[in-house]
Symmetry: C2
């Protein structure tokens, strides 16, 4: 890693050292004080709304001038309603129970000493993300509520918006008597700063990348700290031979079309060969009516009545994030499981069936952060599952698999209280 | 990573592919079947004892011929009693509850669908370790009981012993109808094989290195998969001004001398300045009587009555793993916390005091996988804490912080069971 400028390394270490010191204060801050900060931050965003919108305008203009896509400009945009949503989210996070200090188990051991497991903050978290400036507020609020310091590295396209928001994060920390350095940006805005940040061994306790696969691939290549990937969701629903077809059709359409651009949206429908003659036309008709393009295997095409296009090899395992859906006929449940093992991304996988034995075999045999039975893949979401606000959906198995809420931003330590107890 | 021979990469991918396929079978294997394997393995070790001891003799002879230290030769040695201990451990692991499938929480969401969190295996685990051949059996037993496949890479010094043991692991799997490839060795015995194994992104779900700091540093440098470090234990006990000195002395001597060569052994005693004149002579006398060399700061020396040597700068933060102990006088509790932040390794840290407020402040302010109050650091151990057999003691905060038992070799996934539920 000698290719990184030494000055950048030194500045990065200084950022991380300040973050570490701030993390000690945050780790001991009371829940009441952290909540006071969240409410103060909400007020600051409201009173500073014009400043935020003005900064956002610069980013928007730069994006348009640079010829960015309409979808990307949309993701960049902050408006009155967007800021109000942030304010609401901050009040919701303030209302959530504080995870720090929670005793998750405990007992008196036979020798007579007490043992407890207790949630403590992770320490210093690095959040590397793209586009949406609202992540700046959401991520900082969740990390700090869980007692951590955070280094935030948003995309260069949102530089002005993020800087304005980070200024408000820091000033509101100062206002309630918490260390401003609990929220920082990397030393510089260059891409090299990401590498410097994540390659400093023991600098971050956790790096969470959220963004396109290119960003995540880059971080996986250079990171020397633990990374929880929020990688792609290539989500499947398997319409089993004993499915309630009317219900299955409603679920498939919801999973694909309710919000196609997100990671828990459906990307591929697997249809059991035993019911393909009836199921394929129903599914294709309903998806087409919802403006979804169906890309179909040969066996699907035979039943699709001309409403589907032939799937190409690279449509398999593809995260379309769009109104496009692969449809593929499988021989049976085992074939469905084999297909998902080959093309799935361990995000969300589901079966639609009235047969309880088939549901059992499917859930036992599939590996994904969330397995759904007779329900939409879109339910794999922190708010739907009862976690409250989430910082993302992990496709890494370690530590957190699936939606990551406040608890996932802490770890559990051991506490032993004795009265002179020793090891025999 | 182009410096690795392409043939090694290809062979490593083949090992990992076979391990992945075996992991699917293991993930669905019943607890009864996995326990049958453990018992069969215990029998195989007993009937094959002569084969194991003969292989071990070759490793021992090679080690002696190579001029290895007596301590290292000792760690390599397997004898009748060592094999009997392995047999006992296997029966204990068979008797432990199966973590796979355990539902850890669940509820019916307001919309009416059911949500459960459930333990599932991690998948494929890579275990890289040194010296002790018994780790081969312990690690494989724990990984497979938790439903995982494992790739085992022991030290080259134990090559013959480990190969004999791995042969027995595989033959006993075959005997009960489980896939032999759930236990494998890397493609070659060369050190490059470690790099090939851990740098294959998404190849392993987890790498657990156990060994010296050099081995772990190397893996942290080359790994592209999640690593849980079992790094060094620079453990401190702080003798507070309100300590019961007789009790504190017994605890300090136990923590240092009961088994000095392990990671949860004490390395440094911090003595509160307020009681140094009384505490230092007591502690130094007791440690010296237990054959411990005390390396002391200037203020300690002043009270040590000539029984301590002057500490050098690099004695601070040192993991002696020997009958050597640093002793350092601190101004007060805050100074003790600052000292531990600077020199500790987040393994095991403790306070000895009768003052409940001091204990509270210390436990709140210190960051370690295990914090002890009025007890020996040696209690930070899977069996003492009630976990049963452990695969190591993690100093990584993510996923498992402290002793790692069976549960730490699984993750939790989400299961959603609906009746046509969709996202609104």
């Amino acid at each position: 890693m000698s290719h990184l400028p030494e000055a950048l390394r030194i500045e990065t270490r200084a950022v991380l050292k300040r973050a570490r010191e701030a993390s000690w204060t945050l780790a001991q801050a009371s829940g009441a004080l952290k909540n006071r900060w969240l409410v103060r931050l909400a007020e600051t965003l409201q009173t500073g709304q014009d400043t935020i919108l003005a900064a956002n305008q610069i980013d928007l203009k730069n994006a348009v001038d640079a010829g960015r896509s309409g979808a990307m400009v949309d993701r960049l945009r902050l408006d009155d309603r967007g800021i109000q949503n942030l304010v609401t989210a901050l009040h919701e996070i303030a209302a959530m129970p504080d995870p720090v200090g929670r005793v998750t188990s405990g007992e008196v051991r036979p020798q007579g000493f007490e043992v407890r497991k207790q949630r403590v903050p992770l320490g210093v978290i690095g959040m590397v993300y793209e586009s949406r400036p609202n992540v700046t507020i959401d991520a900082a609020a969740l990390c700090l509520k869980a007692g951590n310091a955070v280094v935030l590295r948003g995309g260069s396209e949102a530089l002005h918006s993020n800087s304005a928001l980070i200024e408000m994060l820091r000033s509101s920390l100062h206002a309630v008597g918490l260390p401003m350095d609990a929220v920082q940006q990397p030393a510089t805005a260059e891409r090299q700063a990401i590498e410097a940040l994540v390659s400093e061994r023991d600098g971050l306790d956790l790096c969470i990348p959220r963004g396109g696969t290119q960003l995540i691939d880059f971080i996986m290549q250079v990171a020397r700290v633990p990374v929880i990937q929020h990688y792609q969701g290539v989500c499947h629903l398997y319409v089993h031979s004993a499915a309630d077809l009317a219900q299955a059709t409603r679920v498939v359409v919801n999973a694909k079309a309710q919000r196609p651009g997100v990671c828990n949206a459906l990307e591929a429908v697997l249809v059991d060969a035993a019911i393909a003659d009836e199921a394929v036309p129903m599914l294709v008709r309903a998806l087409t009516a919802a403006n979804v393009q169906v890309r179909a295997c040969k066996r699907t095409i035979a039943h699709a009545g001309g409403c589907a296009v032939a799937a190409q090899p690279d449509d398999y395992g593809q995260e379309f994030l769009d109104l496009i859906c692969l449809m593929h006929v499988v021989d049976d449940l085992d074939d469905a499981l084999a297909h998902i093992r080959q093309f799935g991304s361990r995000h969300t996988e589901g079966i639609l069936t009235r047969d309880i034995a088939a549901a059992h075999r499917f859930t036992q045999g599939v590996d994904a952060s969330c397995v759904v039975v007779n329900a939409s893949t879109r339910l794999n979401d922190g708010s739907c599952l009862g976690l409250g606000a989430e910082i993302g959906i992990s496709t890494t198995k370690l530590h957190a698999y699936g939606p990551m809420g406040l608890d996932s931003l802490t770890t559990e330590r051991w506490l032993v209280v004795g009265d002179g107890h020793v090891r025999q």
